[in-house]
Amino acid sequence: MAESRDADINAQRLYAEFVKGIWKENPVFVMVLGMCPMMAVTNSAINAIAMGVSTAFVLIGSSLLVSLLRNLIPREVRISTYIIIIATFVTVVDFTLQAMVPAIHKELGAFISLIVVNCLILGRQEAFASRHPTRLALADAAGMALGFAFALLCLGATREILGSGSLFGRSLFGEHYEPWVIMILPPGGFIMLGLILLFFNWMRQRKTMRPAIAAEEVRR
């Protein structure tokens, strides 16, 4: 891929790179990346948000650094370099959360450290930040991070509503609601994400089928 020159970048291009991560190339729903933290921490909406914010910080920080250093990093050791840059940012997040919000840090446990091996972050460095100018890399990272956080929140909120009958810890349905406990347990994560992906497939299928159906009607 040819590297775009700095002069070519306008607001429209930046906006396009930013928006694609949120919906069209959503890292979770479309590309199915970053599954592990995705399901492990989404048993409540507040955990999902904490994870989303931490991942966003790491993704944007390492994209910035990788894109600034992109002409200095030798090709042979690029993956190790990216991993070390990412690990540094994750260490920062880990210590910050531990100091500022110990309760959430305890809840998320080792999954904060495991952001290091989130394939979404490494993937963006390899596929985008290492071959584009800084401004584009930042727009891309911010879009992807927002898309990831959006997916986390979707899954987290649904699972919390079904599994404990509450949202952000506030009860929604009153005391007669019998919580669907399986939803906050591990199997619920797999099944809920399966259903959400199913919904996305269905929407995509409808979109591609629509012209065919219309043509059928014209023929009649």
Binding site: M39, A40, I83, T91, S113, G194
Partner: protein, 193 residues
């Protein structure tokens, strides 16, 4: 002491199965579970990397990390990356056929979060060297069992008639959910003891 080791093994392998209970190593779990044979071999390679990583993590914990706790993540990931590189070289030298069969999935073991998680929990649980080894073998076998079960189910699912809309990742997720539900039954092992 011996029964203690046995419990560590069973807990890591079945009750708290890394893949189906903690959601670790999902990328290879969904990526490599297409064929039974490859799945099994990748499982074996993962067990080996886990054992080496566990040994190295014990060493780092004893000698280096007390002086520089902020290096924990960075040193673990460097150890894992170099072990995987080493395994890759050994397999290529000893068995070129296996090397070709595993292909791209061999280097990808580095980004298997189960391995980093193993190193981190071993540290936080303060396991001894032997306990750490048993924990690593248990976790690796658990991962292999889950991977092989999943591969078998997917090979079956390929042959049955399924609506096109659910095929692919959505179906795999739901199969994994059912498997995970089945593994929850093993939790009874602990309350019975």
């Amino acid at each position: 002491m011996n029964s203690n080791l046995l419990w560590i093994f069973i807990s890591a392998c079945l009750v708290n199965n890394f893949t189906l209970y903690y959601f670790l190593g999902l990328c290879p779990f969904f990526g490599v579970s297409g064929r039974l044979k490859t799945a099994f071999r990748l499982g074996l390679a993962t067990i080996f990397v886990m054992v080496i990583t566990s040994l190295c993590a014990s060493f780092l914990n004893a000698f280096i990390l007390p002086y520089a706790p902020y290096l924990k993540l960075i040193s673990f990931i460097v150890v894992i990356a170099s072990t995987v590189q080493f395994v890759e070289m050994v397999i290529r030298k000893l068995s070129p056929a296996l090397f070709r069969a595993l292909g791209i999935f061999l280097p990808l073991i580095t980004t298997n979060c189960a391995i980093l998680y193993l190193a981190l929990t071993q540290t936080s649980k303060e396991l001894s060297v032997v306990q750490g080894l048993v924990y690593a073998v248990g976790a690796g076998s658990g991962f292999t069992i889950a991977l092989v079960l999943m591969a078998g189910l997917r090979e079956e699912a390929e042959l049955s008639s399924i609506p096109a809309v659910i095929k692919g990742t959505a179906l795999n997720m739901i199969i994994a959910g059912l498997l995970s539900m089945a593994f929850m039954g093993f939790a009874g092992l602990f309350s019975a003891a």
